[in-house]
Symmetry: C2
Subunit: 204 residues, 2 copies
Amino acid sequence: MSTSATPPLSPLTITFGPGNATLEPQGQVLTRRMSDLEGLFVDGHAWRQAVVDGDPVVYTVVSSPVPEVPRELPQSITTIYPGDTGGEFWMTKGHQHPDPQGEIYLGLEGRGGLLLFDGERAEWLDMGPGTIGYIPPGWAHRSVNVGDEPYRFLAVYPGSAGHDYGWVLAHGMGLRARRGDATVELVPFGAPASASDNPTRPQE
Amino acid sequence: MSTSATPPLSPLTITFGPGNATLEPQGQVLTRRMSDLEGLFVDGHAWRQAVVDGDPVVYTVVSSPVPEVPRELPQSITTIYPGDTGGEFWMTKGHQHPDPQGEIYLGLEGRGGLLLFDGERAEWLDMGPGTIGYIPPGWAHRSVNVGDEPYRFLAVYPGSAGHDYGWVLAHGMGLRARRGDATVELVPFGAPASASDNPTRPQE
């Protein structure tokens, strides 16, 4: 089987039927609190305040028992809680796969977005029940809750893929998702939080 | 990442939320009629008769646009129509992956079964909405409609996996799924159709 005749995919959304979910039997459960997300939100002052004000759970990841090893195809369900920090919607840390492998996110509940970045181009996919977000190999990916309820999705990914969180800290994600007037507002990754949100925010 | 400490998985069922589906945008669509399934049903006489009597569509496979090449993660939705041939439930051809890779089937609609065979052991997983059937690498797999309505599932599989249909013709699938009194009856793969079903069936 040759890959040379097939051009690389760009991210795309594939429509799919609705549903919501837990995984049973259950493997590892990961809980990310605000204090685990240092350096992710552009507004460091608002982030610190949120840590002090109860350090809320931002998201959880429930894995199936299928292990993350080559040739297996593990799954997990991520739940991102609704909220924003300095106007920036709550989100996952985001990661790149050290072994470039495609992945799918299947929207289950709530309203979300899938932000993808290959180091040059950034793409945003609207996600919700009935949507498969396809993550081509080589694209870093982050999920965002843009609604008022928990946003939940099923991930399916080759067990060899791995998680490189440092890539996102070093390269960013191209865009940030902020709470807009009626919908999500996508702004350049390096842009500061708006002055009106954080009149006393230090330059950091 | 080492794989040596993780024992090989046996097939397992993982509970998941309901839904039903088409794929949009759509890639290749495969239609399998009865005439495409020569040698699959143990009752060759009943199979021939069904081909003559209208050659019905037994199943269809709608693929997403994600290509079947290494590092991509394609998806497809299979619909198996309800019926039996000589008492044997309608089913897919079944295949083995030339490149041993795990796969998931996610039940969307109807009642089905996932038959797995590694050349020695056969496993049967009851499938329906809310169930993920996990196919570990190295297990041939066939799907069966055991209900009265179309049985539909979403497959997610690494693009490198491939399809070897000849393996099943050479090795069988360990078990066959027959229409029982109230439920599915699993019989050894080599067993002939019951005499009461086919009084005039030639020995073939």
